[in-house]
Amino acid sequence: MRVYETEIASRLMLGTAQYPSPATLAEAFRRSGAGIATVSVRREAGGERAGAAFWDLVRELGVTVLPNTAGCHSVREAVTTAQMARELFDTAWIKLEVIGHADTLQPDPFGLVEAARILTEDGFQVFPYTTEDVVLAERLLQAGCEVLMPWGAPIGTGLGLTNIYGLRTLRAQFPDVPMVVDAGLGLPSQATMAMEMGFDAVLLNTAVAKAGDPAAMAEGFARAVEAGRLAFEADPMEPRDMAAPSTPVIGKAFLS
């Protein structure tokens, strides 16, 4: 897939949070084949140097980083966080989150569009964390976004694709816009479903990091994403209500 004139080889993007250890994180990335890792910025105390240690770990993964504005609830907060992330990670990419609701972590659509416009004008390449709303999608594209990241379900729930109809509609409305299903996936089968529907990639974190064996789950998702993509490209058969024999009817021995 191609996003902001960058060719992205792997259709699985992986978060870096919540792993039991740095070694597990590294092993999960290795087995996932993910080419993009999401990262964040957080407060650091004087003399702490945790940021430098984490940055060394990420560089050893050999992946492209996609910083986020996770936890930001206002446009100003998200914009300032994005600017700090751009300097720290030396990238124009930003996974833009403007959260509007504390319990569902649902994006604030109004703040999201405003922040996307401000950041795009400032030279950022925005990956907006959005819902399946087609009107919001249209506004984000008008604001300069060249990729959309609709949620499957609220962050960290593992519920999968909770609004299949909405996601299918979004995919169909903007067939040429790269789309990444971001958040809410819990199982590889759900990732396969998203890929079969024609989404270009999936982004997940908790489903891998919180699995009993994160590295094995990472590989499970990698295979699931590949299977779903192959199926989409293979042009699946149309489902039908009535049975249709697959074995030829003609030539069957007449034995009754």
Binding site: E44, G46, R49, G51, P67, T80, M84, L88
Partner: protein, 64 residues
């Protein structure tokens, strides 16, 4: 003067952001900064601080 650093009231002697960072032990740390909710690029840390300024200092972290 008293400023707020990452949410904690802090006494600093220096009168610029660069001086405060040095004084608080950030040295060559990989950090980015904001003062009063506005981003301050690394190249602009000679910016003067005033009493009561809210300084945020962040570094790379795990994220989803």
């Amino acid at each position: 003067m008293k400023i707020t650093v990452n949410g904690t009231e802090t006494e600093v002697q220096g009168d610029t952001l660069a001086a405060a960072l040095d004084e608080l032990g950030y040295g060559e740390a990989k950090v980015a900064t904001a003062v009063n909710e506005a981003f301050v690029p690394a190249t602009a840390r000679d910016r003067a601080l005033s009493p009561g300024d809210r300084v945020e200092i962040v570094a790379p972290r795990q994220g989803g």
